[in-house]
Protein backbone atom coordinates (compact mmCIF):
# COMPACT_ATOMS: atom_id res chain seq x y z
CA UNK A 1 0.00 0.00 0.00
CA UNK A 2 1.13 3.54 -0.68
CA UNK A 3 1.28 6.27 1.88
CA UNK A 4 -1.68 8.59 2.06
CA UNK A 5 0.14 11.59 3.42
CA UNK A 6 2.24 12.19 0.33
CA UNK A 7 -0.65 12.70 -2.09
CA UNK A 8 -3.87 13.30 -0.20
CA UNK A 9 -4.79 16.88 0.49
CA UNK A 10 -5.97 18.13 3.86
CA UNK A 11 -9.77 17.88 3.30
CA UNK A 12 -9.38 14.27 2.20
CA UNK A 13 -7.80 13.44 5.52
CA UNK A 14 -10.92 14.48 7.40
CA UNK A 15 -12.75 11.12 7.24
CA UNK A 16 -9.62 9.38 8.39
CA UNK A 17 -9.26 11.75 11.30
CA UNK A 18 -12.91 11.20 12.21
CA UNK A 19 -12.38 7.47 12.27
CA UNK A 20 -9.26 7.59 14.39
CA UNK A 21 -9.82 7.73 18.13
CA UNK A 22 -8.13 10.32 20.26
CA UNK A 23 -6.90 10.31 23.82
CA UNK A 24 -6.32 7.60 26.35
CA UNK A 25 -8.23 4.32 26.05
CA UNK A 26 -9.77 4.21 29.52
CA UNK A 27 -11.84 1.17 28.73
CA UNK A 28 -8.76 -0.88 27.92
CA UNK A 29 -6.93 0.44 30.98
CA UNK A 30 -9.79 -0.58 33.28
CA UNK A 31 -9.96 -4.01 31.65
CA UNK A 32 -6.22 -4.60 32.06
CA UNK A 33 -6.32 -3.51 35.71
CA UNK A 34 -9.30 -5.81 36.30
CA UNK A 35 -7.42 -8.73 34.75
CA UNK A 36 -4.37 -8.08 36.90
CA UNK A 37 -6.57 -7.77 40.00
CA UNK A 38 -8.36 -11.02 39.14
CA UNK A 39 -5.01 -12.80 38.72
CA UNK A 40 -3.71 -11.44 42.02
CA UNK A 41 -6.87 -12.51 43.77
CA UNK A 42 -6.71 -15.96 42.17
CA UNK A 43 -3.05 -16.43 43.09
CA UNK A 44 -2.85 -15.00 46.62
CA UNK A 45 -6.32 -14.66 48.06
CA UNK A 46 -8.09 -17.80 46.91
CA UNK A 47 -7.49 -21.15 48.60
CA UNK A 48 -5.90 -23.90 46.53
CA UNK A 49 -7.97 -26.92 45.60
CA UNK A 50 -7.60 -29.82 48.03
CA UNK A 51 -7.17 -32.43 45.31
CA UNK A 52 -5.75 -30.58 42.33
CA UNK A 53 -3.50 -28.25 44.32
CA UNK A 54 -2.17 -24.97 42.96
CA UNK A 55 -2.62 -26.19 39.38
CA UNK A 56 -6.34 -25.74 39.76
CA UNK A 57 -5.83 -21.98 39.73
CA UNK A 58 -5.32 -22.05 35.99
CA UNK A 59 -9.07 -22.62 35.97
CA UNK A 60 -9.56 -18.88 36.60
CA UNK A 61 -7.88 -18.08 33.30
CA UNK A 62 -8.88 -21.11 31.30
CA UNK A 63 -12.64 -21.13 31.82
CA UNK A 64 -13.26 -17.36 31.46
CA UNK A 65 -11.11 -17.40 28.30
CA UNK A 66 -13.22 -20.28 26.97
CA UNK A 67 -16.47 -18.48 27.76
CA UNK A 68 -15.28 -15.32 26.04
CA UNK A 69 -13.33 -16.84 23.15
CA UNK A 70 -15.46 -19.83 22.27
CA UNK A 71 -18.99 -18.82 23.13
CA UNK A 72 -19.06 -15.05 22.90
CA UNK A 73 -16.57 -14.35 20.07
CA UNK A 74 -17.64 -17.26 17.88
CA UNK A 75 -21.35 -16.50 18.26
CA UNK A 76 -20.67 -12.87 17.47
CA UNK A 77 -18.72 -13.90 14.37
CA UNK A 78 -21.47 -16.23 13.17
CA UNK A 79 -24.32 -13.78 13.82
CA UNK A 80 -22.52 -10.83 12.22
CA UNK A 81 -21.68 -12.94 9.15
CA UNK A 82 -25.24 -14.14 8.69
CA UNK A 83 -26.75 -10.71 9.18
CA UNK A 84 -24.16 -9.14 6.88
CA UNK A 85 -25.30 -11.31 3.99
CA UNK A 86 -28.77 -10.02 4.64
CA UNK A 87 -28.37 -6.26 5.17
CA UNK A 88 -24.81 -5.70 3.85
CA UNK A 89 -23.76 -3.22 6.50
CA UNK A 90 -19.99 -2.85 6.54
CA UNK A 91 -20.00 -2.24 10.28
CA UNK A 92 -21.18 -5.81 10.79
CA UNK A 93 -18.28 -7.01 8.69
CA UNK A 94 -15.82 -5.07 10.85
CA UNK A 95 -17.42 -6.47 13.97
CA UNK A 96 -17.15 -10.03 12.60
CA UNK A 97 -13.51 -9.43 11.70
CA UNK A 98 -12.70 -7.95 15.11
CA UNK A 99 -14.44 -10.68 17.07
CA UNK A 100 -12.70 -13.37 14.99
CA UNK A 101 -9.28 -11.91 15.68
CA UNK A 102 -9.80 -11.14 19.36
CA UNK A 103 -11.59 -14.47 19.79
CA UNK A 104 -8.61 -16.26 18.26
CA UNK A 105 -6.39 -14.79 20.98
CA UNK A 106 -8.73 -15.98 23.74
CA UNK A 107 -9.09 -19.42 22.15
CA UNK A 108 -5.32 -19.55 21.94
CA UNK A 109 -5.23 -18.84 25.67
CA UNK A 110 -7.60 -21.78 26.22
CA UNK A 111 -5.40 -24.05 24.12
CA UNK A 112 -2.23 -23.01 25.94
CA UNK A 113 -3.55 -23.13 29.49
CA UNK A 114 -5.43 -26.40 28.89
CA UNK A 115 -2.34 -28.59 28.27
CA UNK A 116 -0.41 -26.92 31.11
CA UNK A 117 -3.15 -27.97 33.51
CA UNK A 118 -3.60 -31.38 31.85
CA UNK A 119 0.11 -32.17 32.33
CA UNK A 120 -0.17 -31.84 36.10
CA UNK A 121 -3.60 -33.39 36.49
CA UNK A 122 -4.01 -35.95 33.72
CA UNK A 123 -0.35 -36.73 33.21
CA UNK A 124 -0.31 -35.86 29.51
CA UNK A 125 0.06 -32.58 27.71
CA UNK A 126 -2.51 -33.35 25.08
CA UNK A 127 -5.60 -35.44 25.40
CA UNK A 128 -7.93 -36.01 22.44
CA UNK A 129 -10.89 -35.24 24.60
CA UNK A 130 -14.07 -33.93 22.98
CA UNK A 131 -13.94 -30.37 24.22
CA UNK A 132 -10.24 -29.89 23.59
CA UNK A 133 -10.51 -31.33 20.11
CA UNK A 134 -13.52 -29.16 19.25
CA UNK A 135 -11.67 -26.09 20.49
CA UNK A 136 -8.66 -26.92 18.35
CA UNK A 137 -10.78 -27.39 15.23
CA UNK A 138 -12.64 -24.18 15.92
CA UNK A 139 -9.34 -22.35 16.37
CA UNK A 140 -8.15 -23.66 13.00
CA UNK A 141 -11.46 -22.68 11.40
CA UNK A 142 -11.23 -19.10 12.67
CA UNK A 143 -7.61 -18.97 11.55
CA UNK A 144 -8.71 -20.05 8.05
CA UNK A 145 -11.35 -17.32 8.15
CA UNK A 146 -8.75 -14.68 8.97
CA UNK A 147 -6.38 -15.93 6.27
CA UNK A 148 -9.23 -15.66 3.78
CA UNK A 149 -9.83 -12.08 4.88
CA UNK A 150 -6.20 -11.21 4.32
CA UNK A 151 -6.23 -12.72 0.85
CA UNK A 152 -8.92 -10.44 -0.59
CA UNK A 153 -8.10 -6.89 -1.60
CA UNK A 154 -11.45 -5.21 -2.18
CA UNK A 155 -13.36 -4.21 0.95
CA UNK A 156 -16.78 -5.21 -0.36
CA UNK A 157 -15.59 -8.53 -1.74
CA UNK A 158 -13.69 -9.35 1.43
CA UNK A 159 -16.79 -8.69 3.51
CA UNK A 160 -19.01 -10.77 1.27
CA UNK A 161 -16.74 -13.79 0.90
CA UNK A 162 -15.79 -13.93 4.55
CA UNK A 163 -19.45 -13.60 5.55
CA UNK A 164 -20.21 -16.67 3.43
CA UNK A 165 -17.50 -18.59 5.23
CA UNK A 166 -18.60 -17.29 8.63
CA UNK A 167 -22.19 -18.34 8.02
CA UNK A 168 -21.22 -21.83 6.87
CA UNK A 169 -18.90 -22.16 9.85
CA UNK A 170 -21.92 -21.56 12.10
CA UNK A 171 -23.51 -24.64 10.51
CA UNK A 172 -20.31 -26.62 10.83
CA UNK A 173 -19.71 -26.20 14.55
CA UNK A 174 -22.53 -28.56 15.69
CA UNK A 175 -21.23 -31.17 13.24
CA UNK A 176 -17.69 -30.91 14.53
CA UNK A 177 -18.87 -31.24 18.08
CA UNK A 178 -21.07 -34.23 17.26
CA UNK A 179 -18.28 -35.97 15.36
CA UNK A 180 -15.79 -35.40 18.12
CA UNK A 181 -18.23 -36.63 20.77
CA UNK A 182 -18.91 -39.79 18.77
CA UNK A 183 -15.20 -40.31 18.34
CA UNK A 184 -14.59 -40.14 22.05
CA UNK A 185 -17.51 -42.48 22.64
CA UNK A 186 -15.71 -45.12 20.65
CA UNK A 187 -12.32 -44.59 22.24
CA UNK A 188 -12.71 -43.81 25.94
CA UNK A 189 -9.68 -41.78 27.04
CA UNK A 190 -7.48 -43.11 29.85
CA UNK A 191 -8.51 -40.56 32.45
CA UNK A 192 -6.04 -40.45 35.32
CA UNK A 193 -8.21 -38.23 37.38
CA UNK A 194 -11.80 -37.28 36.70
CA UNK A 195 -12.23 -33.59 37.35
CA UNK A 196 -15.79 -33.23 38.55
CA UNK A 197 -17.64 -30.20 37.32
CA UNK A 198 -15.95 -27.50 39.42
CA UNK A 199 -18.79 -25.04 39.19
CA UNK A 200 -21.20 -27.32 40.99
CA UNK A 201 -19.28 -27.67 44.20
CA UNK A 202 -17.17 -24.57 44.08
CA UNK A 203 -16.69 -22.98 47.51
CA UNK A 204 -17.87 -19.35 47.79
CA UNK A 205 -14.35 -17.82 47.68
CA UNK A 206 -13.52 -19.73 44.55
CA UNK A 207 -16.83 -18.89 42.96
CA UNK A 208 -16.31 -15.19 43.63
CA UNK A 209 -12.81 -15.30 42.14
CA UNK A 210 -14.18 -17.15 39.13
CA UNK A 211 -16.94 -14.59 38.60
CA UNK A 212 -14.48 -11.75 39.03
CA UNK A 213 -12.11 -13.30 36.51
CA UNK A 214 -14.94 -13.85 34.02
CA UNK A 215 -16.01 -10.24 34.37
CA UNK A 216 -12.42 -9.07 33.89
CA UNK A 217 -12.07 -11.17 30.75
CA UNK A 218 -15.35 -9.88 29.38
CA UNK A 219 -14.11 -6.34 29.91
CA UNK A 220 -10.83 -7.18 28.23
CA UNK A 221 -12.63 -8.79 25.31
CA UNK A 222 -14.83 -5.78 24.69
CA UNK A 223 -11.93 -3.35 25.13
CA UNK A 224 -9.84 -5.25 22.58
CA UNK A 225 -12.84 -5.64 20.31
CA UNK A 226 -13.43 -1.90 20.39
CA UNK A 227 -9.78 -1.22 19.66
CA UNK A 228 -9.70 -3.70 16.79
CA UNK A 229 -12.97 -2.41 15.40
CA UNK A 230 -11.62 1.14 15.34
CA UNK A 231 -8.52 -0.04 13.58
CA UNK A 232 -10.64 -1.79 10.95
CA UNK A 233 -12.73 1.37 10.49
CA UNK A 234 -9.55 3.41 9.97
CA UNK A 235 -8.19 0.90 7.49
CA UNK A 236 -11.42 0.93 5.51
CA UNK A 237 -11.52 4.75 5.57
CA UNK A 238 -7.96 4.81 4.28
CA UNK A 239 -8.77 2.26 1.56
CA UNK A 240 -11.74 4.39 0.53
CA UNK A 241 -9.44 7.44 0.29
CA UNK A 242 -6.92 5.61 -1.82
CA UNK A 243 -9.22 3.82 -4.21
CA UNK A 244 -12.37 5.83 -4.40
Amino acid sequence: MTSVSSTASAPLKAPLAAASPKGFDWFLAVAVVACIAASVRAMFYTPADAMLGEAQKIFYIHVPAAIVGLYLACSLLAICSLVYLWIRDERLDRLAESSAEVGLVFMGMVLITGPIWARTSWGTWWQWEARITSTLFLWLLVLGYLVLRNAVESTEQRARLSAVMGSLAALLVPFIHLTVLLFRGMHPPPVVLTPNNPQKNLPPEMRLTFLFATLAFLLLFFALLRMRYRWAAMRDARAALEHG
Partner: protein, 260 residues
Protein backbone atom coordinates in the same frame (compact mmCIF):
# COMPACT_ATOMS: atom_id res chain seq x y z
CA UNK B 1 -9.39 -18.33 -27.96
CA UNK B 2 -8.84 -21.14 -25.58
CA UNK B 3 -10.59 -24.43 -25.94
CA UNK B 4 -12.54 -23.67 -22.86
CA UNK B 5 -14.07 -20.43 -24.06
CA UNK B 6 -14.90 -21.96 -27.40
CA UNK B 7 -16.59 -24.85 -25.69
CA UNK B 8 -18.60 -22.50 -23.55
CA UNK B 9 -19.73 -20.32 -26.43
CA UNK B 10 -20.68 -23.39 -28.35
CA UNK B 11 -22.75 -24.57 -25.42
CA UNK B 12 -24.51 -21.24 -25.18
CA UNK B 13 -25.35 -21.13 -28.86
CA UNK B 14 -26.57 -24.70 -29.08
CA UNK B 15 -28.44 -24.49 -25.81
CA UNK B 16 -30.63 -21.63 -26.79
CA UNK B 17 -30.82 -21.89 -30.56
CA UNK B 18 -33.81 -24.16 -30.37
CA UNK B 19 -35.59 -22.33 -27.62
CA UNK B 20 -35.68 -18.80 -28.93
CA UNK B 21 -35.67 -17.56 -32.47
CA UNK B 22 -36.53 -13.93 -31.77
CA UNK B 23 -32.95 -12.70 -31.74
CA UNK B 24 -33.72 -10.15 -29.02
CA UNK B 25 -30.99 -9.70 -26.45
CA UNK B 26 -31.60 -12.27 -23.82
CA UNK B 27 -32.71 -11.09 -20.39
CA UNK B 28 -32.47 -13.48 -17.50
CA UNK B 29 -35.87 -15.05 -17.12
CA UNK B 30 -37.71 -14.83 -13.82
CA UNK B 31 -38.42 -18.54 -14.16
CA UNK B 32 -34.74 -19.37 -14.45
CA UNK B 33 -35.09 -21.48 -11.34
CA UNK B 34 -37.79 -23.63 -12.89
CA UNK B 35 -36.92 -27.24 -12.37
CA UNK B 36 -36.42 -28.49 -15.95
CA UNK B 37 -34.20 -25.60 -17.05
CA UNK B 38 -32.33 -25.73 -13.75
CA UNK B 39 -31.42 -29.37 -14.24
CA UNK B 40 -30.71 -28.95 -17.94
CA UNK B 41 -28.45 -25.93 -17.32
CA UNK B 42 -26.62 -27.70 -14.52
CA UNK B 43 -26.11 -30.72 -16.70
CA UNK B 44 -24.78 -28.57 -19.56
CA UNK B 45 -22.24 -26.89 -17.29
CA UNK B 46 -21.19 -30.19 -15.77
CA UNK B 47 -20.81 -31.70 -19.22
CA UNK B 48 -18.69 -28.75 -20.38
CA UNK B 49 -16.32 -29.17 -17.44
CA UNK B 50 -16.12 -32.90 -17.88
CA UNK B 51 -15.49 -32.63 -21.62
CA UNK B 52 -12.61 -30.23 -20.92
CA UNK B 53 -11.29 -32.57 -18.26
CA UNK B 54 -11.64 -35.55 -20.55
CA UNK B 55 -9.79 -33.80 -23.39
CA UNK B 56 -6.95 -32.42 -21.29
CA UNK B 57 -6.89 -35.07 -18.55
CA UNK B 58 -4.56 -32.79 -16.59
CA UNK B 59 -6.48 -32.73 -13.32
CA UNK B 60 -7.27 -36.40 -13.31
CA UNK B 61 -3.73 -37.37 -14.20
CA UNK B 62 -2.32 -35.20 -11.42
CA UNK B 63 -4.75 -36.62 -8.88
CA UNK B 64 -4.19 -40.22 -9.96
CA UNK B 65 -0.41 -39.92 -9.88
CA UNK B 66 -0.56 -38.16 -6.51
CA UNK B 67 -2.81 -40.89 -5.12
CA UNK B 68 -0.60 -43.77 -6.21
CA UNK B 69 2.53 -41.99 -4.98
CA UNK B 70 0.86 -41.34 -1.65
CA UNK B 71 -0.21 -44.97 -1.28
CA UNK B 72 3.34 -46.09 -1.98
CA UNK B 73 4.82 -43.57 0.44
CA UNK B 74 2.41 -44.54 3.18
CA UNK B 75 3.38 -48.13 2.60
CA UNK B 76 7.02 -47.40 3.28
CA UNK B 77 6.33 -45.55 6.51
CA UNK B 78 4.33 -48.50 7.80
CA UNK B 79 5.54 -51.30 10.01
CA UNK B 80 3.25 -54.26 9.17
CA UNK B 81 4.30 -56.12 12.31
CA UNK B 82 3.18 -53.25 14.56
CA UNK B 83 -0.07 -52.16 12.90
CA UNK B 84 -2.31 -54.54 10.96
CA UNK B 85 -3.04 -53.36 7.41
CA UNK B 86 -6.75 -53.28 8.07
CA UNK B 87 -6.25 -50.71 10.85
CA UNK B 88 -4.03 -48.41 8.83
CA UNK B 89 -5.73 -48.61 5.42
CA UNK B 90 -8.91 -46.63 6.20
CA UNK B 91 -6.89 -43.65 7.41
CA UNK B 92 -4.59 -43.80 4.40
CA UNK B 93 -7.55 -44.09 2.08
CA UNK B 94 -9.30 -41.04 3.45
CA UNK B 95 -6.23 -38.85 3.69
CA UNK B 96 -5.56 -39.58 0.03
CA UNK B 97 -9.19 -39.05 -1.00
CA UNK B 98 -9.24 -35.68 0.70
CA UNK B 99 -6.06 -34.33 -0.83
CA UNK B 100 -6.63 -35.84 -4.28
CA UNK B 101 -10.09 -34.26 -4.22
CA UNK B 102 -8.58 -30.89 -3.33
CA UNK B 103 -6.27 -31.10 -6.33
CA UNK B 104 -9.29 -31.38 -8.61
CA UNK B 105 -11.35 -28.75 -6.80
CA UNK B 106 -8.66 -26.15 -7.35
CA UNK B 107 -9.08 -26.50 -11.08
CA UNK B 108 -12.86 -26.17 -10.98
CA UNK B 109 -12.87 -22.38 -10.94
CA UNK B 110 -9.25 -21.80 -11.84
CA UNK B 111 -10.26 -23.03 -15.25
CA UNK B 112 -12.93 -20.36 -15.54
CA UNK B 113 -10.56 -17.54 -14.65
CA UNK B 114 -8.41 -18.10 -17.73
CA UNK B 115 -9.54 -15.79 -20.55
CA UNK B 116 -12.23 -14.51 -18.18
CA UNK B 117 -14.47 -17.40 -19.11
CA UNK B 118 -16.21 -16.98 -15.76
CA UNK B 119 -17.66 -13.66 -16.91
CA UNK B 120 -19.11 -15.34 -19.97
CA UNK B 121 -20.59 -18.04 -17.80
CA UNK B 122 -22.17 -15.47 -15.48
CA UNK B 123 -23.47 -13.42 -18.40
CA UNK B 124 -25.16 -16.45 -19.91
CA UNK B 125 -28.88 -16.92 -19.17
CA UNK B 126 -28.29 -19.49 -16.49
CA UNK B 127 -29.23 -19.13 -12.85
CA UNK B 128 -26.45 -18.91 -10.25
CA UNK B 129 -27.79 -21.98 -8.56
CA UNK B 130 -27.53 -24.08 -11.68
CA UNK B 131 -23.96 -22.89 -12.24
CA UNK B 132 -23.17 -24.17 -8.78
CA UNK B 133 -25.05 -27.41 -9.32
CA UNK B 134 -23.23 -27.97 -12.61
CA UNK B 135 -19.84 -27.26 -11.11
CA UNK B 136 -20.64 -29.49 -8.17
CA UNK B 137 -21.78 -32.34 -10.43
CA UNK B 138 -18.57 -32.13 -12.44
CA UNK B 139 -16.51 -32.14 -9.24
CA UNK B 140 -18.54 -35.04 -7.89
CA UNK B 141 -17.80 -37.02 -11.04
CA UNK B 142 -14.13 -36.10 -10.77
CA UNK B 143 -13.87 -37.08 -7.11
CA UNK B 144 -15.73 -40.33 -7.76
CA UNK B 145 -13.37 -41.29 -10.58
CA UNK B 146 -10.36 -40.52 -8.39
CA UNK B 147 -11.85 -42.61 -5.61
CA UNK B 148 -12.55 -45.44 -8.04
CA UNK B 149 -8.79 -45.45 -8.73
CA UNK B 150 -7.57 -45.03 -5.17
CA UNK B 151 -9.77 -47.63 -3.54
CA UNK B 152 -8.48 -50.60 -5.60
CA UNK B 153 -4.93 -49.22 -5.33
CA UNK B 154 -5.08 -49.20 -1.51
CA UNK B 155 -6.71 -52.64 -1.44
CA UNK B 156 -4.01 -53.96 -3.73
CA UNK B 157 -0.95 -52.40 -2.11
CA UNK B 158 -2.07 -53.16 1.44
CA UNK B 159 -3.15 -56.69 0.58
CA UNK B 160 -6.56 -56.20 2.08
CA UNK B 161 -9.24 -58.85 2.00
CA UNK B 162 -12.33 -56.72 1.49
CA UNK B 163 -14.69 -59.48 0.40
CA UNK B 164 -18.35 -58.64 0.80
CA UNK B 165 -17.56 -55.20 2.28
CA UNK B 166 -17.12 -53.66 -1.19
CA UNK B 167 -20.67 -52.46 -1.58
CA UNK B 168 -21.07 -50.67 1.77
CA UNK B 169 -17.63 -49.08 1.37
CA UNK B 170 -18.59 -47.75 -2.05
CA UNK B 171 -21.78 -46.37 -0.48
CA UNK B 172 -19.80 -44.55 2.20
CA UNK B 173 -17.39 -43.22 -0.41
CA UNK B 174 -20.26 -41.82 -2.47
CA UNK B 175 -21.94 -40.22 0.55
CA UNK B 176 -18.71 -38.52 1.53
CA UNK B 177 -18.03 -37.51 -2.08
CA UNK B 178 -21.33 -35.59 -2.22
CA UNK B 179 -20.54 -33.49 0.84
CA UNK B 180 -16.93 -33.09 -0.21
CA UNK B 181 -17.78 -31.78 -3.65
CA UNK B 182 -20.53 -29.44 -2.36
CA UNK B 183 -18.32 -27.74 0.23
CA UNK B 184 -15.27 -27.98 -2.01
CA UNK B 185 -17.01 -26.34 -4.96
CA UNK B 186 -18.23 -23.45 -2.83
CA UNK B 187 -14.80 -22.79 -1.36
CA UNK B 188 -13.15 -23.19 -4.75
CA UNK B 189 -15.45 -20.39 -5.93
CA UNK B 190 -14.41 -18.27 -2.94
CA UNK B 191 -10.71 -19.07 -3.33
CA UNK B 192 -10.81 -18.17 -7.03
CA UNK B 193 -11.47 -14.56 -5.97
CA UNK B 194 -8.43 -14.33 -3.73
CA UNK B 195 -4.74 -13.76 -4.12
CA UNK B 196 -3.71 -17.06 -2.57
CA UNK B 197 -6.21 -19.35 -4.38
CA UNK B 198 -4.60 -22.79 -4.30
CA UNK B 199 -2.91 -22.17 -0.96
CA UNK B 200 -6.08 -20.96 0.66
CA UNK B 201 -8.41 -23.77 -0.41
CA UNK B 202 -7.07 -26.45 1.97
CA UNK B 203 -7.01 -24.02 4.89
CA UNK B 204 -10.66 -23.21 4.40
CA UNK B 205 -12.00 -26.61 3.41
CA UNK B 206 -10.15 -29.05 5.68
CA UNK B 207 -11.97 -27.98 8.86
CA UNK B 208 -15.21 -28.47 6.93
CA UNK B 209 -14.13 -31.95 5.88
CA UNK B 210 -13.70 -33.14 9.48
CA UNK B 211 -17.34 -34.25 9.92
CA UNK B 212 -17.06 -36.03 6.55
CA UNK B 213 -13.68 -37.69 6.67
CA UNK B 214 -13.85 -38.82 10.29
CA UNK B 215 -17.18 -40.69 9.98
CA UNK B 216 -16.25 -42.03 6.56
CA UNK B 217 -12.93 -43.39 7.81
CA UNK B 218 -14.63 -44.92 10.84
CA UNK B 219 -17.27 -46.59 8.70
CA UNK B 220 -14.66 -47.87 6.23
CA UNK B 221 -12.69 -49.35 9.08
CA UNK B 222 -15.87 -50.91 10.45
CA UNK B 223 -16.70 -52.60 7.16
CA UNK B 224 -13.13 -53.69 6.49
CA UNK B 225 -13.10 -55.40 9.88
CA UNK B 226 -16.32 -57.20 8.94
CA UNK B 227 -18.41 -55.57 11.64
CA UNK B 228 -22.11 -54.83 11.07
CA UNK B 229 -23.46 -51.41 10.15
CA UNK B 230 -25.39 -51.28 13.43
CA UNK B 231 -22.07 -50.56 15.20
CA UNK B 232 -21.56 -47.43 13.16
CA UNK B 233 -25.08 -46.06 12.86
CA UNK B 234 -24.05 -42.83 14.59
CA UNK B 235 -21.32 -42.21 12.03
CA UNK B 236 -23.65 -42.93 9.14
CA UNK B 237 -26.17 -40.45 10.53
CA UNK B 238 -23.53 -37.72 10.76
CA UNK B 239 -22.48 -38.40 7.18
CA UNK B 240 -26.03 -38.29 5.82
CA UNK B 241 -26.92 -35.25 7.91
CA UNK B 242 -23.84 -33.42 6.64
CA UNK B 243 -24.92 -33.98 3.04
CA UNK B 244 -28.49 -32.97 3.78
CA UNK B 245 -27.45 -29.74 5.50
CA UNK B 246 -24.47 -28.66 3.43
CA UNK B 247 -25.65 -29.34 -0.12
CA UNK B 248 -28.61 -26.94 0.18
CA UNK B 249 -26.55 -24.50 2.28
CA UNK B 250 -23.83 -24.35 -0.36
CA UNK B 251 -26.37 -23.90 -3.17
CA UNK B 252 -27.88 -21.00 -1.22
CA UNK B 253 -24.52 -19.49 -0.33
CA UNK B 254 -23.00 -19.67 -3.81
CA UNK B 255 -24.73 -16.60 -5.31
CA UNK B 256 -23.12 -14.53 -2.55
CA UNK B 257 -19.67 -15.40 -3.84
CA UNK B 258 -20.41 -13.59 -7.10
CA UNK B 259 -20.06 -9.86 -7.53
CA UNK B 260 -23.33 -8.32 -8.66
Amino acid sequence: MSEHVREQLHERVTAHAGERVTGIAHVREPDALRAPSFVADAWRIARKDLVIEFRTRSGLLASAVFSVLAVVMFHFTWDPTAIPAVDLAPGVLWVIFTFAGLLGLNRSFGLELADRAYDALLASPVSRESIFAGKMLANLAFVTVVQALVLPAVVLFFNLDVGAAWLPIVGVVLLAAIGLSAVGTLFAAIAANTRLAELLLPMMTLPFFIPLVLPAAQLTSLFMNGRPLADGMGWLKVLVAFDLVFVPACVLAFPFTIEE
